[in-house]
Amino acid sequence: MTATTEASPLPPKRRLSNAQRQVVSDLALTATLCVSAIATWQALVSFGIVSRLVLPLPSSIPASLASLIDSGALLDNLLTTLAEAAAGFTIATGIGLALGALIAEFRVVERIVYPYLIALQTMPKIALAPLLLVWFGFGLGSKIAVAAVISLFPILVNTIAGLKSCEPGRLDVLRALGAGRWDCFRLVKLPNALPFVFAGLSTAVMFALTGALVGEFVGSTQGLGYLIVQANNLMDIPGVFAVLAVLCVVGTAIFGAMQFARRKVLYWAPNEE
């Protein structure tokens, strides 16, 4: 964004609005911070203040990354991890929305299921990863299961909260017409719940990625988590950082995609940020 504004050599000088100027100066500050942090890091390591076994030279990371890309290892393992996370997220979304709707709509279901929900919610789901490895095997199955289990709760909890948060006045409009339960649900409660559901999905998609990685840490022969563990075991610290950099980019891309989807679907709701 800055690049295009600065690089355009158009004679009719386009004046930047105050808001745009603010964005440009914010970006400049962020970039400055980043460059100086990396410079400090490089200095600390090259002057031997911090051991290279702990921190690699920042300048050594691009080479590591390049070799990962060249060998094709990066793409293969990235796709594996993304597939696991996506599958887990999809399963969690399906179960979370359906179960959330049942719990919010039917008191019986709520009374029966709620105690288990609270018990499960207070338990750290990551602790299930070794068990899920035993149950679902060494392959993709166990990673998908971990991703699904830990991304389920944000979706479920937010769906329930969203469906229950409906203003009674809005429901009265439908009820006064003799609308049935299904109409009330589809025409008022569900759209009303969407901002909550979206907040849940945004959290869940990151949890799914985390779940897939943890699943791979516990035991696997492929995926970015496997790459990290392998590089770690070989004391290939630049290799670890190369994968972390990739994860950073992937995470940012997913976050951007969720924001984009939110703007499309929730055009009517003011942004929460």
Binding site: E167, G169, R170, D172, V173, L174, R175, A176, L177, G178, A179, D183, L187, V188, P191, N192, L194, W268, A269, P270
Partner: protein, 289 residues
Amino acid sequence: MGKLQRLPDRHRTSLAGGATLASSASPAAAITVRGLGKAYATSAGEPIQAVSQVSFDVAVGEFVSIVGPSGCGKTTVLRILAGLVDGYVGSVSIGGRVVHGPTPDIGVVFQDANLMPWRTVLANVTLPGQVLRLEPKACRQRARELLALVGLAGFEAKLPGELSGGMRQRAAIARALLHDPRILLMDEPFGALDAMTRDAMNVELARIASQAGKTVFLITHSIAESVFLSDRVLVMSSRPGRILAEIEIDLPRPRNLDVVADSRFANTVLHIRRLLEQTGGNPRVTLAH
């Protein structure tokens, strides 16, 4: 309904009880309320008596307003009529039938506009059509006409968040009229409007009500508005609300805004004001708008 097209007949018949109700309610009462009382349970524990011993009738095609201090139970009565509240004593019938729940014969304008923020203004007005399974195209056409009627032509594609409070309230009125209900229940529909728009809306409502032969039950805080619009004004006491007086308004119809200069108009307004002053309570009732 005036210059508005009615929905095609085959859609009207789909309004379940609608057709039968009108035929059974000959010159009889559209609304009958006898000995109505309602107590709400409060969080503190002891119940709070909102209304007690309320009885009145509204004839088919009659325009009846109710005025009373804030919190005296007007909305409670309206919600009971709309079939939205139960756990009351006494009997309530609409078109000769005991109320057991909501019916599409009624159009309700609530105290808050309650538009769906995710729907455009047009889609909000066609919402009743979706619930009652009316033909979508005819609904959209009628919704456009109604929006023009309430002065919102050109705002069809806007979201409620982009409208002012008064505009939202007018959209809610258009929504209540969409399925052409025989009975209109209106809870301070013009509260959020400026005086000029309010006058214009009053004239429009009087026209709709008389031309379409609608039965209207209106809650208002404006004595002048109640006198201008109504055939009869019910004056309610402060909580627990009872009907203090029923005042026939025998000003000739059709009325236009010049009627405010009529001495009978001024006297009636003054009379109702006196009644309300005696009951005390929160003086939210105003003489003018």
